[in-house]
Amino acid sequence: MVTSLFIVISVLFVLFRLVPGDPMATVQDPRMSPEVQEQVVEMYGLDEPLWQQYLLYMFNVIQLDFGVSYYYGRPVTGIVGDRLVNTLSLMLTAYVISYSIGTYLGAHMGWLRGSQLERIEMILVLFCRSMPVFWVGMVALYLFAFQLELFPLGGMRGVTATYDSQFEKFLSLDFLYHLVLPVFSLSLFYTGLPLLLMRNNVLEVLTQDYIETAEAKGLSERRIVIWHAARNAILPVVTAFAIAIGFAIGGQVLIETVFSWPGLGREMVDASLRSDYPLAQATFFILSAIVITMNFFADLAYTYLDPRVKLGGEQQ
């Protein structure tokens, strides 16, 4: 996990040194005298050799100091902090909903294998998975916000809403009301993967002997699927979570843009369009850090769900 973060930072360092133009051009005023200009260069450490700049950069990033945003004129860290909370609130809600629905429906479809109903469900799922997530968002906005006027056009809160605390903000009805359409669009996008995996795994598990034993014991179908098949089929879904998260972040960026959600993804898009490099760099770093941390937790969850991994297979 630490190595990955380290490499991401290094990639960022290299990439942002490739930026065309002098990085000092925005900070230095041409009217400054040459001595002052030199002082500014020194202040930012740009007269040091490259490896020292790299060390300095590393040091700053570890302290979460990404410099000052060109656009807002404030330290980047402060801006990013708020955005991170907004992003996580949207992302985790969508994740919980889609993984619950996905694993349940997947197990259900695995059980119904071969039937006409399953075939139709399968085609529907593949079709939903093919839809670009930002377009789903646009269509949802068109239908539910512009035509039916049921939901707000975007953003995170109404104009009149005020809150006493952060906590209250995320529990208010107004916030939930703004959350519905983005979560709907994101969930539609996220659900496909756990669902398809779950279905395939259940198909595989159902051929095992212990399922037959359970059937012979006269257990109800429901009990077999949920207690015997689903429990064992869920493992690969957890591993796949790690791979899925990279794609999920992409969906997050798109949905935040469509719904003007003041999160990290939208901030990253805006910062990049405005050539606000410090902010773009910081948002990219945090998005990667989310991916890497989630990967780490997926590994932990895996060892928890499958005791064999922890015990090194001794009991088998």
Partner: protein, 272 residues
């Protein structure tokens, strides 16, 4: 269903190849009404089956030209993913040991780079172009292909016929290309089919965010224009066709890929 998927792909392929003949207008041709004003946001009519955009472009023509971009990105992307993924997977699986360890570490690390943000950074630095998107696809989408090919090669290389080839003095290179490659090609092809969809969605997403090539009429840039002008709220004929086209092509590639998988791997057909 696989035939249906293939049908969709062929349909869009024909549109892409014959775009200049089929499209009634140039993608960026401004259509002027009789009274000299732009035909801005006209709903579908006989002259413009899918209406016009806010700057007076014909939606149908833009859509048809967009097919070219999508097909180009889809095919080149899929080709790169299949080549890189297969090559890396084969080398890792065949040589094993330290080589395998290093490659798999690299794969793990690259999984930490989220695709869309990464391409945004590229586009910020290098400027918007279709090549950034393809570079991003080539760099980050081969990972799962390589993993799957690797595990397939791991089991293949223990087979007796590989041992026989080695005993008769075949070089590593020869064993990999003549004896192992033909056996993993079906898997690569399946992943290539999936990569067609991913690449097209990737291009559309990046263009939608405004980091695409502004001189090209792609489905993503069409959606971006209709979103930025906020006209998707009124002109459904402008935003629905490109989105639906993306969906259909990606869907078609999925179906064709699954169909191919069933042909290449008959075990899948049992129990259905």
């Amino acid at each position: 269903m696989a035939v249906f998927g293939l049908g969709i792909l062929i349909f869009y392929m024909i549109l892409a190849i014959f775009a200049p003949i089929i499209a009634p207008y140039e993608p960026f041709e401004r259509i002027i009404a009789d009274d000299g004003s732009w035909k801005s946001l006209h709903p579908p009519s006989m002259a413009h089956p899918l209406g016009t955009t806010e700057s007076g472009h014909d939606v149908l023509s833009q859509l048809i030209y967009g097919t070219r971009v999508a097909m180009f990105v889809g095919l080149v992307g899929a080709f790169m993913v299949a080549c890189i993924g297969t090559a890396v997977g084969m080398v890792a699986g065949y040589y094993g040991g330290l080589v395998d360890e290093l490659i798999m570490r690299l794969v793990d690390i690259l999984y930490g780079l989220p695709f869309i943000p990464f391409v945004i950074v590229l586009a910020t630095i290098l400027g918007g172009s279709i090549w950034n998107i393809l570079f991003g696809v080539a760099l980050l989408y081969w990972l799962s292909t390589a993993r799957v090919i690797r595990s397939e090669v791991l089991s293949l290389k223990e087979r007796p016929y590989i041992e026989a080839a080695r005993a008769s003095g075949a070089s590593d290179f020869r064993i990999m290309f003549i004896h192992i490659l033909p056996n993993v090609i079906p898997l690569s092809a399946l992943y290539a089919a999936i990569a067609v969809g991913y690449s097209i969605t990737a291009e559309a997403s990046i263009s939608f965010l405004g980091f695409g090539d502004p001189s090209l009429s792609s489905w993503g840039t069409m959606l971006q224009r209709s979103f930025v002008t906020q006209e998707f709220a009124t002109s459904w004929w402008w935003s629905i066709p490109p989105g639906l086209s993306i969906t259909l092509v990606v869907f078609g590639a999925y179906l064709a890929g699954r169909g191919y998988e069933e042909i290449a791997n008959p075990q899948l057909r049992e129990g259905r």
